[in-house]
């Protein structure tokens, strides 16, 4: 029954009833198009925000020194809190449940890094070896700084691929490890090259041993930040740790424990969970709107199919009078509907994916909107659902129309 002649008959009917074809197709194509855009945007937003989290482990806590805002035990507000190596050692030894820990300090000196005639400005980040774990650093070559470097005050440096590519040109690129680069005029030996999944500005960076930096650049034992990871503790256990840390710092550094500006404690695990909860909400919202869109599409297609069959009742009568079987009539109408809706669905799918592709290629990279791709399985299922519901909606009126006596169908003007 599904021979080429039948398809020719179907195609010629479609071609000669352009408005009807367009209306049926449009409601499907539009529904799928909107669904793709919706799913894609949701995904793009989620990818973007997740990317922001990628630059470091999700169970990290960052403790930074700040300035007091509340008077405490005779001290006036506006006093700078200063961390030293002693704070690092104390936290490391007295707080239970720390997985890895590292201190960092900010370098405010000239941050020019050069190799031969090539130079550039990059962030110089003094730290402990464990920072590689906290920052999710991936080694490409060589090694990260280690404990020996730290305790022997070695002038060694781990550089990112971006820094390597900027300083080591052409043939020297592969031979960066072992070379000496100048950091603020001081030669440091490159021991490793790393990459980082985080945002690009976090990769314009080199890491040097923190004790070396204190000796070479600062001449004191100050640090600015302590970061640590909490292993696989629950949210509540981590909260208890954060409280313990705050209390300890407030008693040592003499500030009110309620003073959030004296030291800032950023608990990424909590932040991460809150953001993921938000996205669970957004996903639910996207689904509700998406399902609404599909239902609107289903209603649209069903309406049109019912009207199409009604409109064709007389034609059905004529066809029956000259010898068409009900099966041939129903199958022709349904095949026509399936053809139009699947093609339109495919068209909407391609249009939506094309637009998303265009957006992600043409727009400048936005940190909070990355890779807006729609789940193809969902999109294809939605297309199939629309095709099926169009067929379903057309089936009963078509069967009814094909079943009535030709004389009644012909009377229908």
């Amino acid at each position: 029954m599904f021979d080429s002649d039948k398809w020719h008959e179907i195609f010629s009917t479609i071609k000669k009833n352009r408005l009807r074809t367009f209306l049926t197709g449009f409601s499907v194509a539009w529904g799928i198009f909107m669904l793709i855009i919706l799913l894609g945007s949701g995904r793009g937003l989620e990818n973007g925000v997740k990317n922001q989290f990628k630059g470091s482990v999700n169970n990290g806590i960052w403790i930074s020194a700040g300035r007091t805002t509340i008077p405490y035990q005779g001290y006036k507000p506006g006093r700078d809190i200063k961390f030293t190596n002693e704070d690092y050692n104390r936290v490391k030894n007295s707080i239970d449940g720390i997985d890895v820990i590292s201190a960092r300090s900010w370098i405010n000196i000239n941050n020019t890094i050069s190799y031969k005639n090539e130079y550039g400005n990059f962030t110089i980040s003094p730290c402990h070896p464990d920072y590689a774990i906290i920052k999710n650093v991936k080694l490409e070559e060589g090694r990260f700084i280690n404990d020996m470097d730290l305790h022997k005050y070695r002038k060694v440096v781990a550089i990112s691929t971006i820094v390597r590519d900027a300083l080591f040109k052409n043939g020297e690129k592969a031979k960066a490890v072992g070379k000496y680069i100048k950091i603020s005029g001081v030669p440091f030996k490159v021991v490793g090259v790393f990459s980082d999944e985080g945002p690009e500005n976090e990769q314009r960076r080199v890491y040097i041993p923190i004790y070396t930096a204190q000796r070479v650049f600062f001449g004191n034992n100050e640090i600015n930040q302590i970061s640590l990871t909490t292993g696989d503790k629950t949210i509540d256990e981590v909260d208890a740790m954060v409280e313990q840390i705050k209390k300890q710092f407030s008693s040592i550094h003499k500030f009110d424990v309620k003073d959030d500006r004296a030291i800032s404690v950023w608990n990424k695990g909590q932040e991460y969970k809150r953001t993921m909860d938000l996205f669970a909400g957004i996903r639910l919202f996207v689904w509700i709107v998406g399902i609404g869109t599909i239902i609107a599409g289903i209603v649209g297609v069903s309406n049109i199919m019912i009207i199409v069959v009604k409109e064709r009742t007389k034609e059905i009568g004529i066809r029956k009078a000259i010898g068409a079987t009900p099966f041939s009539i129903v199958s022709t109408i349904l095949a026509e509907s399936i053809l139009i809706t699947s093609f339109a669905g495919y068209f909407g799918l391609m249009l939506g994916i094309g637009l998303l592709e265009l957006i992600s290629n043409a727009l400048p990279p936005i940190d909070f909107f990355v890779n807006p791709e729609a789940d193809l399985r969902v999109a294809i299922s939605a297309t199939i659902l629309l095709v099926a519901s169009g067929t379903f909606a057309g089936f009963f009126p078509a069967v009814k129309a094909a079943g009535i006596k030709p004389v009644e169908a012909l009377r229908d003007e």
Binding site: G323, A324, L410
Partner: protein, 226 residues
């Protein structure tokens, strides 16, 4: 060829029952050219619809080519309409989005004849009707007479045993009506039975036998010597 006995047919609309055909007995032989006359409401169109299996009947029997036409499956009914009967309507009933040739060829589509072959046959029939040049035209580009010729070509293309025409000249002017009647007489000469429902006397006078229906009963059945 056509044999009906004690044929009854009523329509039920709501609580009203309209008794249209009240026990008809009629025999029409192969090759006859018959007209059925009567005022509106006399049941002449209903009789034609029953003969064309476009409508069912309640009581009695209807034999077409020695086969009883009752309780037919849709498939069987479609087969008889397709192979035994050609229909010509007052309002032509052409499919508006198909051109003349495609309209004529449609019955062959349902017989499974290939497109090229059936279009060629359709052209032959349009040629016989004298409107071959209009083959590519859509129905709305044709005059009434031309449309009816297309419809007649469509009725003839499957080589039916009988052509049933329901007021075929009702929408045509008198000159064109006469041309169409001449065409029917021509077709009848090839041995095809033709039954024409009309209320125009001069149309019925062009046939060989006039059956008068009044209130669902055969009032007279006259054989003319044309």
């Amino acid at each position: 060829m056509i044999e009906i006995k004690g044929l009854h047919k009523s329509y039920v609309t709501g609580n009203n029952k309209l008794h249209v055909l009240k026990g008809l007995d009629l025999v029409i032989e192969q090759g006859e050219l018959v007209s059925v006359m009567g005022s509106s409401g006399s049941g002449k169109s209903t009789l034609l619809n029953v003969l064309g299996i476009l409508d069912s009947y309640d009581v009695g029997s209807y034999k077409l080519n020695d086969t009883i036409m009752s309780n037919l499956t849709e498939k069987k009914a479609a087969y008889f309409r397709n192979n035994m009967i050609g229909f010509v309507f007052q309002s032509f009933n052409l499919i508006s989005f198909k051109n003349a040739m495609e309209n004529v060829a449609l019955p062959l589509y349902y017989q499974g004849v290939g497109r090229k072959k059936r279009n060629k046959i359709a052209l032959d029939y349009l040629d016989k009707m004298g409107i071959k040049d209009w083959a590519e035209h859509m129905p709305n580009e044709l005059s009434g007479g031309q449309k009816q010729r297309v419809a007649i070509a469509r009725a003839m293309i499957s080589n039916p045993k009988v052509i049933l025409a329901d007021e075929p000249t009702g929408a045509l002017d008198s000159a064109t009506s006469l041309e169409v009647m001449d065409l029917f007489r021509e077709i009848n000469k090839s041995g095809i039975t033709i039954i024409i429902v009309t209320h125009e006397k001069d149309i019925s006078e062009k046939t060989n036998r006039i059956i008068h229906l009044t209130d669902g009963i055969i009032e007279s059945d006259i054989i003319l010597k044309n």
